[in-house]
């Protein structure tokens, strides 16, 4: 299908909005837009970071998910207590496939669900005693933990427990870091506020712990911030940062440790991958410790090259040469990948709907493969995310903020992309509609997708999904009218 014009896209939005009652329609209209690269300020065309409409099916998470699941969860040598009823924690333990090394249950704990399992009596009488008991118990059972964080679920805020006091007391008793995090799910409009709260907790309870202590530093110390090591992403990035001569002293928070977080203020440059979830702490370190930060993009060779040169610009000629050396080294490998997959993927159209940074960062990787992103949107972005996105997207493509289940389905039906990239909640809807789908949160149990090694896997996965013979078998033989359609991808 050919690309829609601006007018067609606009009328598509209007048509889709038709089903809503007047008030909901007015509100949702503000979250949908046709991209116009001429616009400097996204807020002129799209509203974001607002409360979802009651009654629609939103795909957002809660503040607790942003803190426990995203920011704190992957810190592997700490134990994160899901403080409250059992369910919230059960669905956020290691579910994002944040890979790490270590012996789970002995010195690393990211995949285990620790919860205070609130019952009626805890709601009535308060859970502070229970929390204190849990911390003591954890210390006995898992003595190799380096610290504990208390992640509050909704009821904690509602009944007004004083987790700060309990944490302070417990920290003295066990002589370790105990971080109370006030990330109750009802705070804010999406997981985004949870990221912010988690960052603030790191700032207040962790970051300054080693101030004034000795640290053997080099002029090339950097950190990877906001890479959650999904399917090994951070490893795939770290490998060539080190190859170009930098020393990565901390990974936040995928495969990260408490010690790494505490050492971060000693870095020379903070490399920020997910801007949305960790810009807060980077800003703080810039102000307090004078550490500059920059946002980078390691999806696809074009963007990697750009980013490596921008990173190198912060350092001396050694690193600049290193960057060129790395770029040159991987060039043949990248060319081979593109030569292999581009002919099979050229011209295919993709619609995305993901979280923090991917709706804009992966565009470059798709373009390297000759594909085109025709629609993109964020679950929990703010205006500054859309500011950045507008420039990356083509004119007259579709932008959707906090899209509802209904809208996304309708958009896909009309735009008929060749591939949809979103999360598990969307996956089966679109697959049943006969549209190739990749999960772009968890890389569909594959990965890594970052870096040079990741791009090769990314290209293979896209090809594997798009050109899978199953898409030609959607119509049962007895319903096929004329000659059977050719299965183009049998190769």
């Amino acid at each position: 299908m050919s690309t829609l014009t601006r007018e067609e896209t606009e009328s598509l939005i209007q048509e889709v909005l038709e089903v809503y009652p007047e008030k909901a329609k007015k509100d949702r209209a503000k979250h949908l837009a046709v991209n116009d690269q001429a616009v400097e300020q996204s807020k002129k065309c799209i509203t974001s970071n607002r409360k979802s409409q009651p009654g629609v099916m939103t795909i957002r998470g809660c503040a607790y998910a942003g803190s426990r699941g995203v920011v704190w969860g992957p810190v592997k040598d700490m134990i994160h207590i899901s403080h409250g009823p059992v369910g919230c924690g059960q669905y956020s333990r290691g579910g994002r496939r944040n890979y790490y090394v270590g012996a789970t249950g002995v010195n690393t704990f990211a995949e285990i669900n620790f919860t205070s399992d609130f019952q009626e009596k805890d709601i009535v009488f308060g859970g502070d005693k229970k929390l204190a008991k849990i911390i003591t118990e954890i210390e006995q059972l898992f003595p190799l933990n380096k610290g504990i964080s208390v992640q509050s679920e909704c009821p904690i805020g509602l009944i007004g427990d004083d987790i700060e006091a309990v944490s302070k007391k417990a920290a003295k008793e066990i002589n370790k870091v105990v971080v109370p995090v006030r990330c109750e799910g009802f705070r804010g409009v999406s997981q985004s506020l949870g990221h912010h709260i988690a960052n603030d907790a790191i700032r207040d309870w962790v970051l300054s712990n080693r101030d004034g202590k000795e640290f053997e530093s080099t002029p090339y110390d950097v950190t990877i911030i906001g890479d959650y090591n999904i399917g090994g992403d951070a490893w795939a990035s770290r490998i060539f940062l080190e190859e170009m001569g930098l020393r990565v002293i901390a990974q936040w928070s995928g495969d990260g440790t408490l010690a790494e977080m505490e050492n971060t203020p000693k870095a020379k440059l903070n490399l920020l991958h997910c801007y949305r979830s960790m810009n807060y702490i980077s800003r703080h370190m810039e102000e307090k410790y004078g550490i500059p930060w920059m946002e980078y993009n390691f999806f696809g060779p074009t963007k990697i090259e750009e980013s490596l040169r921008r990173i190198a610009a912060f350092f001396d000629d050694n690193i600049k040469e290193g960057a060129e050396r790395v770029i040159a080294k991987y060039k043949p490998m990248m060319e081979a990948v593109i030569a292999k997959y581009k002919p099979r993927l050229q011209g295919k159209r993709v619609m995305l709907y993901v979280g923090g940074l991917r709706p804009r960062h992966v565009i470059g990787a798709y373009e390297d493969l000759g594909m085109e992103v025709v629609g993109t949107g964020y679950e929990f972005a703010h205006n500054d995310d859309y500011d950045r996105t507008i420039k990356e997207m083509g004119n007259a493509t579709l932008l959707y903020d906090d899209v509802t289940g209904f809208e996304l389905e309708e958009f896909v039906k009309r735009i008929k992309p060749d591939l949809v990239g979103s999360g598990i909640k969307e996956k089966y809807i679109f697959q049943k509609m006969g549209i190739p789908f990749r999960q772009m949160h968890s890389w569909d149990y594959s990965g890594p997708y970052h870096g040079y090694d990741g791009f090769a896997i990314f290209a293979r996965d896209m090809d594997m999904t798009l050109n899978n013979p199953c898409w030609g078998k959607q119509v049962p033989p007895w319903k096929k009218s004329a000659a059977p359609e050719e299965v183009k991808a049998a190769a």
């Binding site: 400097e40 300020q41 807020k43 985004s192 912010h196 800003r283 810039e286 102000e287 703010h382 500054d384």
Partner: protein, 74 residues
């Protein structure tokens, strides 16, 4: 009054950040930008205006300050 943070952008301008509302925007004009006086009214790209008490010297950026909202859209 709210805490804000001002930092230099990559392109050399100033950017304004209001953590409480996660508002990030470029500063288009600042009332006083002299060696002995810095601050006053900040005009943002989104049309809003904030006021910070003028400082005696330009601060080292980034800097956290207290600001008053004079006028903000939305």
């Amino acid at each position: 009054m709210a805490n804000i943070m001002i930092r230099k952008t990559a392109s050399g301008g100033l950017s304004f950040y209001l953590p409480k509302r996660d508002l990030e925007d470029n500063i288009v004009s600042i009332e006083f930008d002299q060696a002995d006086k810095w601050g006053g009214e900040l005009k943002l790209a989104n049309g809003g205006t904030y006021y910070v008490d003028p400082l005696d010297a330009p601060p080292k950026l980034p800097v956290s300050l207290r600001a008053k909202r004079v006028d903000a859209p939305e």
